[in-house]
């Protein structure tokens, strides 16, 4: 109990001392944080322009996930091991049937996962709790959605207007890993209902590289880019909300059909809200 009090006090003092120098220390609370409930929503729109022989086509999907993040264990190095438990899932797509919706909701609802979170937001070792419930090749995976919305905080205190850059791996199908480059700017610090909040702009870019083990290869000729905003609860060291809008233009090579679909436009909006 004394350790808990000491951690909370240290955390508060660190924030306060930094503010006195017009700097703010941003850090996740990985030592004493209470369970947090989140709603994650992802809306994906993809469109393919038609030509003289074909009509324009599009897809729209939406997934809404309610989850609870709990601290399992805190480590001496300032990191913590967390569990993200999926409480409910709601899914729709105009390219699938209602029966498929229910099947997807069913397998996503057991995708509880654990991860190690550093105080700067770096997430390592995200693993589905029950390895047997890992998604199959063509099944949806919730972990990358959470990782895309995750802010990475600066290693030292920052002033208003200051920017920082970080990179993180996002784990995809099989053993593939994509390095995502994120840039951040501290735009504002304000009090809201007695809670110190930081408003942070978040940019993101990565290259979509083809999966050479698949006979359907998606490739972006330029960076997939993302732009969004994070509201970080500095007082409690948790995300209040995060939003990321992702834009990509993909060439899709179907080795079986011997066909390449050029310039598939993809837009994704990811919203993460703390609903504690």
């Amino acid at each position: 109990m004394n350790f808990v009090k000491f951690s909370v006090l240290s955390f508060a003092l660190l924030s306060l001392c930094s503010c006195e120098r017009n700097e703010i220390h941003l850090a996740f609370n990985t030592q004493t944080v209470a369970p947090q409930s989140f709603v994650l929503e992802s809306t994906l729109n993809a469109s393919f322009p038609g030509d003289s022989n074909t009509v324009p086509e599009s897809m729209r999907t939406h997934v809404s996930v309610r989850s609870t993040m709990s601290l399992l264990m805190s480590y001496d190095d300032g990191s913590g091991r967390f569990e993200m438990k999926i409480d409910s899932v709601d899914y729709t797509s105009d390219k699938r049937s209602v029966d498929e919706f229910r099947n997807i909701e069913k397998y996503l609802s057991i995708q509880n996962f654990q991860f190690k979170l550093n105080h700067d937001g770096i997430i390592t070792d995200p693993t589905i709790e029950n390895a047997l419930d890992k998604p199959s090749e063509d099944e949806l995976n919730l972990i990358p959605l959470f990782l895309k919305a995750q802010p990475l905080l600066p290693e030292k205190p920052v002033k208003l207007g200051e920017s920082w850059e970080r990179q993180m791996p996002i784990f995809g199908k099989g053993n593939s890993t994509t390095t995502v480059y994120k840039t951040f700017t501290l735009q504002d610090v304000f009090l809201q209902d007695g809670v110190r909040m930081a408003k942070i702009h978040m940019g993101m870019k990565y290259l979509e590289l083809p999966d050479t083990t698949s006979n359907l290869q998606l490739k972006s000729n330029d960076y997939v880019v993302g732009d969004g905003m994070v509201f970080f609860d500095v007082t409690h060291g948790v995300i209040s909300s995060a939003e990321m809008n992702v834009v990509a233009v993909l060439d899709i090579r179907d080795l079986v059909a011997g066909d390449t679909l050029p310039s598939m436009n993809v837009n994704q909006k990811i919203v993460l809200r703390n609903v504690q």
Partner: protein
């Protein structure tokens, strides 16, 4: 408090009392014996590449709502006419996920099996023979993908929504029947079915459909698996 715990234990016992838990591998073999049947599979299980799934005649596996049987190792399901092997949903209302074969180690051998009430059963990058296998009341009866050497001998597909789908592969049908489903055979890109096609009949919406023909008719170009891959990738 003690009565609550007792009630919880009793409730848990009653849920799992209807069968033996699906076994784990021992000495490279996952063996399901008739004497221990029925088995119950509540969630996902993976038969590893190094293991062999062996199922004796007369075995029934009752699948829970979240059950997914993923087989990466060798397969020997040896039901008989008198004693078929049965994979069925434990709950007659809710679908179970399905069985998924991803086994390129050696050809699989599946004989006299009935698969009921699954959402989707798949064979991916594998080869082998299904003999006298009955796919009944599944959403996707059997989905074969990237498998160039699959033989269906006297198999039956009935009361499925989509009975048989083939993509990027070749299936040979020998006396197999696809009847009384909503959709019969669906051929996606690079999928072919050779052999007996005269037993594909009396399906509600269509007996044989081709994705390429559907796309051409509607002046579209993007195949279903392309949309699904974009979604899985993002």
């Amino acid at each position: 408090m003690r009565s609550s715990i007792t009630f919880l234990i009793a409730l848990t016992s009653s849920v799992f009392a209807s069968g033996m838990p699906f076994p784990v591998a021992e000495n490279g073999k996952v063996l399901l014996k008739e004497s221990d049947s029925p088995y119950v599979l509540e969630q996902g299980v993976v038969v590893a590449e190094s293991d062999t799934l062996v199922i004796e005649p007369g075995v029934t596996v009752l699948m829970g709502e979240f059950a997914k049987l993923m087989i990466r190792g060798s397969i020997k399901i040896a039901g008989t006419n008198d004693k078929p092997v049965v994979f069925s949903g434990a709950d007659s209302v809710a679908n179970w996920n399905g069985f998924h074969v991803m086994s390129n180690a050696r050809p699989f051998e599946i004989k006299n099996l009935t698969v009921e009430n699954a959402f989707r059963n798949t064979i991916f990058r594998s080869r082998g023979t299904l003999e006298n296998v009955n796919f009944f009341n599944n959403y996707y009866g059997l989905w074969i993908d990237e498998s160039s050497d699959i033989t269906l001998v006297r198999c039956t597909f009935a009361h499925n929504r989509y009975a048989l789908s083939v993509r990027a592969g070749r299936v040979v049908s020998n006396g197999s029947s696809i009847s009384e489903n909503v959709y019969g055979l669906y051929l996606e890109t690079g999928g072919t079915l050779d052999g007996d096609t005269d037993l594909i009949r009396n399906n509600q919406e269509s007996d044989i459909r081709s994705e390429a023909a559907d796309l051409k008719l509607s002046k579209k170009r993007v195949r279903r698996n392309v949309w699904h891959n974009i979604e899985a990738r993002f």
